[in-house]
């Protein structure tokens, strides 16, 4: 936040993130959770809220939530239960949501977030609980003008994990950083695919401003519909400005819910009457309480994978990578796994890191777990390619072309290099002939003259000509030496 508002007001932000868990089936029934099926084809009496149907809890959803709670250093409550949360909305088939209220699965944790200027801050996590997702509404036109809407219940009942941060985030940038770190942990744990476009991760924010130095918190506003890192940052930045302007003008901030309109770049009020928020929670009688023992928690803790932060630190300390590289490589578990596997075949971490960052990430998004795991150039193939570079079989420049071919065909570097005869020419005799040809070419007379006048860089152009003539296969150092020799003798 670089605006003037920052100097006059403290910004207080809390984030509430809903993450879809990567279970095969829904929270309370056996319907699949796959995204993108034709409307109303992944439903049954339970997730469509038919009379007489009853929920039965998905064990894996509980395990995923416990795993996440442990990764966030939360206390997993020894007893928790589900509750019904009541409000009417046509995408919610029972007109209540099975959620958790007084006894959530876990509480009191935190997440370390990199904030401005290389600092790190721990943002508290207040609670983590499970609930069911609702269906999808398709409006015929915009919501405000649509004459009717259509309901698809495919998503209804998909397990959601709601995590509420403490109001300890101090800027829109920090909020985005929190969400990034949050997403990385979930993806690392394999509990969420982190796909924000498909709605796997959804974020609401509470934000208030208070004059610098004031103790009491200002009136908070809830902002909904923050479904990308950009949206989070932009919506909160807009809201900081809006609230600062209002406060500057001596206006009161209204406690309300506002919707971020990403297309138009502003938040707008969702008018709601005072009676709208009486959720009438009570314990869900159709489900029995959960008791989670210390032993189970200990077993799950032991099974936790290395988390992004620890791995990043290890990459710096053990592999000797610069922090920047370690950061990029740990953005997803699949990418870090890829890197480590490649290093096993080519024990030069920095070389591997350079290649992963410049070549692999040029063609595959670093946070796309599936794409990385399915890369046509598996880590062993990349290591094979780099071994050819290291032992001088091919040049670095050629290796880049080879990588592209490997990516297209799925072949190994050896196969391509052999078939296409791309091995470096180290034979001085044959290269000498090429060098002489270039020096004899009249178009290069100017470069030769320049060199003689002391412009040593002119030799570079001549080396380039030789490389071009050999289609890059010539050993560049050898060519350079030969060119220098010949020129000095001329």
């Amino acid at each position: 936040m670089t605006t003037a508002a920052a100097s006059r007001y403290d910004v207080v932000i809390g984030l509430e993130v809903h993450a879809q868990l990567r279970t095969l089936t829904k929270m309370f029934c056996g319907c699949p959770t796959a995204f993108g099926a034709p409307p109303n084809t992944q439903t049954c009496p339970v997730c469509q809220g038919m009379p007489g149907s009853l929920p039965v809890l998905n064990r894996r959803a509980i395990e995923f939530a416990i795993r996440t709670a442990l990764a966030f250093d939360c206390r997993v409550n020894p007893a928790c239960r589900f509750a019904r949360k009541h409000y009417y909305y046509p995408d919610m088939p029972k007109n209540y949501q099975i959620s958790q209220y007084e006894e959530p699965l876990a509480e009191d944790g935190g997440l370390d977030v990199d904030v401005a200027d290389g600092d790190r801050r721990r943002i508290g996590i207040q609670r983590l609980h499970l609930e069911e997702d609702v269906g999808k509404l398709i409006h015929e036109g915009a919501l405000e003008t649509a004459q009717s809407s259509l309901v698809d219940f495919n998503r209804s009942g998909v397990p959601l994990m709601e995590t509420v941060s403490r109001p300890e985030i101090r800027s829109p940038e920090e909020a985005a950083a929190y969400l990034r770190a949050f997403r990385a942990v979930l993806v690392y744990l394999g509990v969420c695919d982190g796909n924000m476009e498909e709605g796997s991760l959804r974020c609401d924010a509470n934000i208030s401003l208070r004059p610098r130095g004031q103790r009491d918190l200002g009136t908070k506003v809830e902002i909904k519909n923050l479904n990308s890192f950009r949206n989070v940052q932009q919506a909160l930045a807009f809201e900081v400005q809006r609230q600062a302007k209002a406060l500057d003008a001596g206006e009161r901030i209204v406690q309300e819910t506002r919707l971020w309109d990403a297309d138009r770049g502003y938040t707008r009020s969702m008018r709601s009457k005072e009676y709208a928020h009486d959720y009438r929670y009570f314990p869900e009688p159709d489900l029995v309480p959960l008791h989670i023992t210390n032993e189970e928690v200990a077993r799950m803790r032991a099974d936790l994978p290395e988390l992004p932060r620890a791995r990043r630190e290890r990459f710096v300390a053990q592999q000797g990578l610069p922090p920047y590289d370690a950061d990029v490589l740990t953005q997803s578990r699949a990418l870090a796994d890829y890197f480590e596997a490649a290093v096993r075949g080519m024990p030069n971490p920095k070389l591997v890191s350079n290649w992963v960052m410049s070549e692999l990430l040029r063609v595959v998004p670093g946070d796309d777990e599936r794409a990385i795991a399915a890369s046509p150039v598996p880590p062993a193939h990349l290591a094979g390619l780099l071994r050819l570079v290291e032992d001088g079989t091919i040049s670095g420049k050629i290796a880049k072309d080879v990588f592209e071919k490997m990516f297209r065909s799925g072949e190994t570097a050896e196969q391509i290099v052999q078939r296409e005869g791309l091995t470096v020419i180290k034979d001085a005799a044959s290269l000498e002939a090429e060098v002489e040809k270039v020096l004899a070419d009249p178009v290069n007379g100017r470069a030769i003259t320049d060199f003689k006048k002391g412009k040593t860089v002119a030799a570079k152009a001549l080396v380039g000509q030789v490389m071009k003539a050999t289609r890059g296969k010539a050993d560049p150092e050898l060519v350079n030496r030969l060119v220098q020799e010949k020129l000095s003798r001329m």
Partner: protein, 488 residues
């Protein structure tokens, strides 16, 4: 068409007659369908009669008897289902206009188990809308009449099922009991009705009224039939998280008639002022019979009884207000057009629900709403704990509790217009629901006006076998079953 006389036969007698080939399932089913056609216009026990389905099932059963293969425990037995049990392809209305045309795409677990047991489904019986009521007058479609006196109610909410068994319109029937809805109509109609332990019978496919109290159970001509039928439907179901995973005993096998040394508790609160003297006399006489059979009697107190009703009328409506929120005109059932979504939903619910259902939705919503939840719903949940403790203390001293099922006998249609007066009718049945324990009502005599009286046995959780044994011993010693209503 010649029809066989079926209305006096028990389930046990029917299956025995099939085995001996004295009767066939098809002939018996035809006889029941004929009785329904002739007599049900006067009783109105049924909302839907599934004649074709029944005959198809009867024919299949007959084939099994012919080949003596795959015979189920209820093979060829014509039964009736309270219309809150989902039946695939057969409309399930809950006696509510809001579900008038609802056809479930699936069977309730109980319905599937009955089919697997070979039972023949005659149809769906009437009830107080969504099982809320004690007279079956609050059906959204029509009131049911008591076969013993057509000017009187059959009780409720499982009034259609009780009347069907009493009137010889089904060999056995199934009801649901949330606050007495099986036992009270059983008492009013002179049949046996049992509410098993909460969790003993799967609720999957039972359209919920109050989820933490609802339990499915049988209504039959005698105790042995209840034992036979209960065994066919009880047992764990992975589709119901509140279903108990415990073996199902051979209930009928436990009916040895022996109650010697059985300790029976007699709770003072169930004999308080307000109980019809004729009811009290009949129940005391029955208790004497049990003493004569060797049971020992113990006076005791269940001090929270007086508060159980009040707690129930917070908990049940609160859960009901939640369970019934789904009827909004979006996915199934009635829709009344409106100018927008909220208007459509509000008008649909206004038109689809009857007065009693609306009353309970309002009461329940109020009891859960901000500012009142702790004082009402929260308080009621604590009182529920006290009710449970009462029973725990009692069962430390006695094996069973014996008491009247209801404070009075069947009343006239329209007699209890005041909702509270109607609610008070459930005072003796509600505590067992709050505690989740099994209870049965067996006929124990008649008033001078010829109306049946019910005797209630209440047992420990999962102790259905002992409840049935005592009820059976009493029934054998005092056979009221011979007396049947004269419907024709």
């Amino acid at each position: 068409m010649t029809t066989v006389a079926v209305d006096g036969l028990s389930v046990a007698e029917l299956t025995e007659a099939y085995r001996r080939r004295d009767l066939t399932p098809v002939a018996v089913t035809r006889a029941y369908l004929a009785r329904i056609e002739a007599l049900d216009p006067r009783v109105d026990a049924y909302l839907t009669v599934t004649a074709d389905q029944a005959l198809t099932a009867a024919k299949a059963s007959e084939e099994r008897y012919r080949t003596r293969s795959d015979l189920g425990p209820l093979d060829g037995v014509p039964i009736a289902l309270k219309d809150v049990l989902c039946t695939r392809g057969v409309r399930t209305t809950c006696a509510s206009k809001i579900l008038e045309n609802f056809v479930p795409p699936y069977d309730a677990t109980v319905v599937a188990r009955l089919a697997a047991a070979g039972a023949v489904p005659l149809g769906k019986t009437n009830l107080d809308e969504f099982a809320m009521g004690s007279s079956t007058e609050h059906s959204g479609f029509k009131p049911t009449r008591n076969p013993w006196d057509l000017s009187r109610v059959p009780g409720g909410s499982s009034g259609g099922s009780a009347a069907a068994v009493a009137g010889g319109l089904a060999a056995a029937a199934f009801g649901t009991d949330t606050g007495g809805s099986i036992r009270q109509p059983a008492a009013f109609c002179g049949v046996v009705g049992m509410k098993p332990t909460y969790g003993r019978v799967s609720r999957y496919g039972l359209v919920a009224f109050a989820s933490s109290l609802d339990q499915i159970g049988p209504l039959t001509r005698d105790v042995r039939d209840t034992a036979l039928v209960l065994r066919a439907i009880a047992g764990h179901d992975r589709r119901d998280s509140t279903s108990i995973d415990a073996p199902v005993p051979d209930y009928a096998g436990a009916l040895d008639g022996d109650v010697r040394g059985l300790r029976l508790g007699i709770p003072a609160e169930y004999f308080a002022a307000g109980t019809d003297p004729e009811v009290e006399r009949a129940v005391r006489t029955a208790i004497d019979v049990l003493r004569g059979l060797g049971a020992t009697l113990h006076d005791l107190s269940l001090p929270t009884t007086d508060y159980a009703l009040a707690a129930y009328y917070l908990i049940a409506p609160a859960e009901a207000s939640s369970n019934l929120a789904r009827y909004d005109g979006v996915k199934y059932g009635l829709r009344v057009p409106g100018k927008d979504l909220v208007d459509m939903e509000s008008r649909t619910r206004a038109a689809g629900f009857g007065a009693e259902v609306k009353r309970r939705i309002m009461l329940g919503t109020y009891a859960l709403s901000a500012g009142y939840q702790e004082a009402y719903y929260g308080k009621a949940q604590k009182v529920r704990t006290l009710v449970r403790r009462d029973f725990d203390a009692a069962f430390a001293e006695v094996d069973l509790i014996v008491a009247p099922t209801t404070p009075n006998v069947a009343f006239k249609h329209g007699e209890k217009a005041d909702p509270l007066a109607m609610y008070l009718n459930d005072a003796f049945t509600i505590p067992a629901n709050l505690a989740g324990i099994p209870a049965i009502s067996v006929p124990c005599g008649f008033t001078t006006a010829g109306l049946p009286i019910g005797l209630q046995f209440i047992g420990r959780a999962l102790d259905e076998a002992r409840v049935l044994r005592a009820a059976h011993a009493y029934e054998t010693a005092a056979p009221w079953r011979g007396r049947r209503p004269e419907l024709g």
